[in-house]
Amino acid sequence: MLFVLWAVATILFFMFRTMPGTPLAAFIDNTTTAEQQEALIAQFGLDKSLGEQYALFMWNLFQGDLGQSFFFKKPVTEVVWEVFPNSVILTLTALIVAYVFGIIAGAYLAWKRGSWVEGVGIPLVLTTRAAPEFWLGMVLLAVFSFHYGWFPSGGANSSGAVWDSTWQRITSADFLSHLALPAITLAIYLQGLPLLLMRSNMLNVLQEEFITMARMKGLSTWAIVMRHAARNALLPVATAFALGIGGAVGGNVVVETVFSWPGIGRLLVNAVAASDYPLAQGAFLMITAVLVVMNFIADITYHLLDPRVRVAASR
């Protein structure tokens, strides 16, 4: 896990250092004097050799120092941490909605195998998997925000609102109404995977001998489906959930942009657009870290949930 993080950080470092022009180009305008320029170059360590810069970069990274943002004139970590919770809330909300829906609908579609429900359902799900997230967001915005006016068109809070605490902010009706559309957009995109996964797992599990045995025991349909079939079919879906968090935090870049949601994806887009390289680098590393950590957690969840794997691992 750490190896992958290190490798990505290294690739990133060399990408940022070998790009055309000085990284300070955007930062230096006509008004900066030569001395100021020198000072800036020294501040960012650009006067040192590439090897020294790399060592310095790694050492700073190790200490959690990602440098200064050109644009915000603040430490990158501070800027990133400010928006990070917004991204996590958006992602988690969407994922939970998507997985609850996907699991139930997937189990239902498996139960309805061969019926017209399946004939309509599967192509519909494939369509949602194929739709660009930002386009879905645009359609929802046009309909529910601009036409009906049910939801605000962007941002995470109305301007001018003041809150005593972060908790109060994110539980306010204002925040939740801002959250609704981006979360639904993301959820529509994300539900396809758990749905299809759950369906195919259920179809496999329902063929198992222990399901026939459960029927022979005279157990109720509810007990058979929930206790035995669903419980078995859920294992891989739970793993996909953890993987989904990692993928979605990076993947909701476009949704955050459509809804002007102040999250880490939009931060990355803005940083790249404004040539704020330290910030872009920091945001990118953060997204990577979440992805890598979640891949790792997915592995662990799988081991925790499946008694077969669990015992094999403890031996």
Binding site: E208, M213, M216, K217, S220, R231, P307, R308
Partner: protein, 336 residues
């Protein structure tokens, strides 16, 4: 008579056509008796006994006959009524206990589930009863906390027997309960099973392809071939004086559990395709004694009390038996 199956017909709908997997099968299970149902795989024996529970694959349909259990016809019961009866009156010991136990629940939990859901027991009672059941089949109580994959094949089969006995059923259907086990373990599990059967005065239907298992444990035997019963009767009558060539062939194909030095020889060829069964006697293509008369449909003939045979040459059975003892009789048949 605890169970009376009469003229049972079960069809499978397949994309290629209708398959009559169980064709006019009749047999009885007296209270407290062990009835063996024997035949090669694909002969319809599993379909027939699963039909008794009403739990069948989606493609299977009852197409005739009756299953009389203590005076009620199980086929005419509603799903609700049938469900009430399952496991309390009729329990099942499956072929492969590896897949028959749910891998994500502890074995004890699966026994307690049945005791609580179907037996109406409380948590504490269910736990006590589960330990009792485990003790009955010779398993330690602490193994209740294990998952199925932590059990050996023999232990899983014992656990399945414990599970089947949980609600004190009258009839236990055991489908190849020892097939997956090695011979020594087979003996152990069969011994436990036989002992419990006597102690609890259970009625048992034991499905197997291994006629030596029948000889070891059964009171009656029903021999099935290609969806039909070809010979049925008390086990000593049928095995001492097999009257159908198929029974004779099966007897030659398996070593006895007790061990003897008979010459073993398999029956060559394979059971017919039930989409397109041969007319007349279905064993005809593989039978070393087939004659032209065998192309006509045979009828059941009585060979003694409760002993009936579906063969044209039943009157010559003594001489056929003699010929069947020699392995040469059974070779070179596939060409015919």
């Amino acid at each position: 008579m605890l169970l009376d199956v009469r003229d049972l017909v079960i069809d499978y709908k397949t994309p290629r056509g209708n398959v009559r997997a169980v064709d006019n099968v009749s047999f009885q299970v007296p209270a407290g008796a062990v009835v063996g149902v024997v035949g090669e795989s694909g002969c319809g024996k599993t379909t027939a006994v699963r039909g008794i529970t009403g739990v069948m694959p989606g493609a299977a349909r009852f197409a005739g006959g009756s299953i009389n259990f203590e005076g009620r016809d199980l086929i005419s019961l509603s799903e609700r009524e049938m469900r009430r009866l399952l496991w309390r009156e009729i329990a099942y010991v499956p072929q492969s206990a590896m897949n028959a136990l749910d891998p994500v629940w502890r074995v004890g939990h699966q026994i307690e589930e049945v005791l609580r859901d179907r037996g109406g027991m409380g948590r504490a009672d269910a736990r006590r009863r589960a330990e009792e059941l485990f003790a009955m089949v010779g398993l330690e109580g602490k193994r209740l906390r294990d998952y199925p994959h932590q059990f050996s094949g023999g232990m899983r089969q014992r656990a399945s027997i414990a599970l089947a006995l949980a609600l004190k059923p009258k009839l236990v259907i055991a489908d190849e309960p020892v097939t997956a086990l090695d011979v020594v373990i087979q003996r152990q599990v069969l011994d436990i099973f036989a002992e419990l059967q006597k102690d609890l005065d259970l009625s048992v239907i034991l499905v197997t392809h291994d006629i030596s298992v029948v000889a070891y444990i059964c009171d009656y035997v029903v021999v099935m071939y290609a969806g039909r019963v070809v010979e049925a009767g008390p086990v000593r009558d049928v095995l001492d004086r097999p009257s159908h060539p198929y029974t004779m062939g099966l007897y030659n194909a398996f070593p006895e559990l007790a061990g003897d030095d008979r010459e073993l020889s398999p029956i060559e060829g394979s059971p017919p395709d039930l989409l397109n069964p041969p007319n007349g006697c279905r064993f005809r293509p593989r039978c070393p004694f087939a004659k032209s008369v065998c192309a006509d449909a045979p009828a059941y003939r009585s060979r003694g009390p409760d002993h009936s045979v579906l063969c044209h040459r039943v009157d010559e059975s003594a001489s056929l038996r003699e010929a069947a003892r020699h392995a040469e009789t059974w070779t070179g048949m596939t060409a015919a």
